[in-house]
């Protein structure tokens, strides 16, 4: 598909560095799917859908800075929804979110409770101010919090909150790769799913730029089971724009 014109209708400041951009178009995604967001004249970048009609973005580079310059009524080009989202399992699920990694997990929490699935969330960030979607997770069930500086919840990493993990029917995780690797090493592989981030070019499974071993993050993912990731390069290295290996 060519990019569709997505007009910004509302911008919400979630944290000092993270904003949600709402569009007048709904993309009707499955939780965990993403879009390619084209900031015209600058770049096109992969972004998780945090609502049916919104992306939640951390300002980290030239493309996101350009996006942060835009206001209501401005527009960007969107291709999507793309990729494979979370596979929802019945029972009682655990969500583990680090920083802006909460973006694809919040709609999963909401969809899950609407389907009668119980949800517990472990939510982590650097500081209290950087916690994303705390209220949305609280509406869905229990929430345990960890912050790096101890300004809210446990003083430490969200991975330290993992407890009793065998009791959950499924564990869903998104956050910085080092954090996800720690989770991968701690939880039952067959009952866990991880949403990955990689440098994505085509977004439609052709070019191979985003591959983790032979897996295309844009098409076979971005969500993969722990079993698939366990013996892969995930958590060890990623590829840069040239295709060179870079240590995680």
């Amino acid at each position: 598909m060519k990019p569709v014109n997505a007009v910004i209708t509302e911008i919400v400041e979630e944290t000092p560095t993270i904003r949600t951009f709402f569009f007048e178009t709904s993309f009707d995604p499955e939780p965990g799917q993403f879009v390619m967001a084209w900031i015209r004249g600058v770049d096109e970048i992969p972004m998780a859908l945090s609502y049916d009609n919104a992306i939640t973005v951390q300002n980290v580079g030239p493309a996101t800075s350009a996006l942060f310059e835009l206001g209501n009524g401005d527009s960007i080009g969107i291709r999507g929804p793309l990729g494979k989202g979370f596979d929802r399992k019945p029972g009682h699920i655990l969500l583990i979110a680090g920083g802006v990694g909460a973006a694809p997990l919040a709609p999963l929490a909401e969809k899950a409770i609407s389907e009668g699935i119980n949800v517990t969330t472990l939510l982590g960030a650097k500081t209290k101010e950087e916690l994303v979607f705390k209220k949305r997770f609280e509406k869905a069930g229990d929430v345990l919090i960890a912050t790096d500086d101890g300004s809210e919840g446990k003083h430490g990493y969200v991975t330290q909150l993992i407890n009793n993990n065998e009791s959950y029917s499924q564990i869903y995780c998104c956050g910085p790769e080092i954090m996800m690797k720690k989770v991968l090493d701690k939880v039952p592989l067959s009952k866990s799913q991880f949403s990955l981030h990689r440098y994505i070019k085509c977004g439609i499974g052709i070019c191979g730029a985003c591959c983790v071993d032979g897996l295309r993050v844009c098409k076979d993912g971005p969500v993969f089971s722990g079993e698939v990731l366990k013996h892969s390069e995930f958590g060890i290295y990623r590829r840069n724009e040239c295709g060179e290996r870079v240590k995680v």
């Binding site: 598909m1 060519k2 770049d43 070019k201 439609i204 591959c211 295309r216």
Partner: protein, 296 residues
């Protein structure tokens, strides 16, 4: 039933992975081999690491795909281990390489170990590379002969369709000692976002692949088969076994698959199975249909 010798290389089937698709990492190439490809052509590799054009670098249009990746690659100095990983899958690996002059090509080819080389003198959107070289018969001949003098494995030359007469470029490759030509690379194209007036690709223009270019590619293969003594390898818009048969009838000894992998990574096995069933039913061999379109 589908096995063949192509420029001296034994292939279990004539359905190969095209350059630029799933060819940057050893792991991705291995997956394509496991999916049934007869051989793998790597992403085009150059002298230095290159990040390529800014995104969007590939979009689907009504009739195919538009891309301007910009030859992103980790450089030949960081690539041998990817080829070696791909080789573990047990099918031949052909290194696609690009450069700005004959010396670049021979430096890269001399440093890489692969079963064959495919010279990319046909990328339509990289300034100073690709088609800017591949439209000049003298340069193509010069580059081909320099690489031939450097390596002792087969050398294929991938041609651009963006020329008045593709036969003259094919002949130049043949005169330079090429073991085969590969036709075609993408067709120069662009798309504009009508909401804003911006060209969609980061590079503004690029190359068209997919269904739309298949008849263009079939005609190029047909013409090259008539003009050349060396084998022609067909590529451009193949998305099922019927397309592959059509290319072979036009005069391709083997084919390469690119864009169609996006929606169907099992396409290699499906094409092999479909071709085998077709040949059995017709009581034909691969040799029987090779160039059949010229005998009628």
């Amino acid at each position: 039933m589908l096995s063949l010798k192509l420029t001296g290389i034994s292939l279990k089937n004539p359905i190969m992975l095209a350059a630029g698709i799933m060819g940057t990492t050893g792991g991705s190439m291995k997956r394509i081999a496991q999916a049934g490809a007869g051989a793998l052509v790597t992403k085009s590799i150059g002298l230095e690491p290159k990040s390529g054009h800014s995104n969007p670098s590939m979009v689907e249009v009504d009739c195919g795909y538009l891309n301007a990746m910009g030859l992103p690659n980790p450089s030949y100095k960081n690539f041998q281990h990817e080829i070696d990983t791909a080789k573990e899958a047990g099918v031949p690996v052909i290194a696609s390489i690009f450069g700005g002059c004959a010396l670049d090509f021979s430096e890269i080819a001399g440093a890489i170990h692969a079963d064959a080389f495919e010279l990319n003198v046909s990328c339509p959107h990289a300034h100073g590379y690709g088609a800017e070289i591949g439209t000049d018969p003298a340069l193509v001949e010069d580059i081909t002969s320099m690489v031939k003098n450097t390596v002792d494995v087969p050398v294929w030359v991938k041609l651009t369709p963006n020329v008045t007469n593709i036969k003259s470029i094919g002949l130049a490759a043949q005169n330079g000692g090429a073991d085969a030509v590969v036709a075609i690379n993408t067709v120069r194209a662009m798309a504009i976002d009508i909401e804003s007036g911006y060209p969609i690709l980061g590079n503004k223009f690029g190359g068209l692949s997919g269904r739309a270019i298949k008849p263009v590619a079939v005609k190029c293969v047909y013409d090259l088969y008539e003009a050349l003594d060396i084998p022609v390898i067909g590529v451009g818009g193949i998305s099922d076994w019927k397309d592959a048969v059509e290319f072979i009838m036009a005069g391709a000894q083997a084919v390469e698959i690119g864009s169609a992998i996006g929606n169907n990574i099992n396409i290699f096995k499906e094409i092999s199975t479909g071709m085998e069933a077709f040949l059995s039913e017709k009581e034909w061999t691969l040799d029987d249909i090779y160039g059949m379109g010229h005998q009628i």
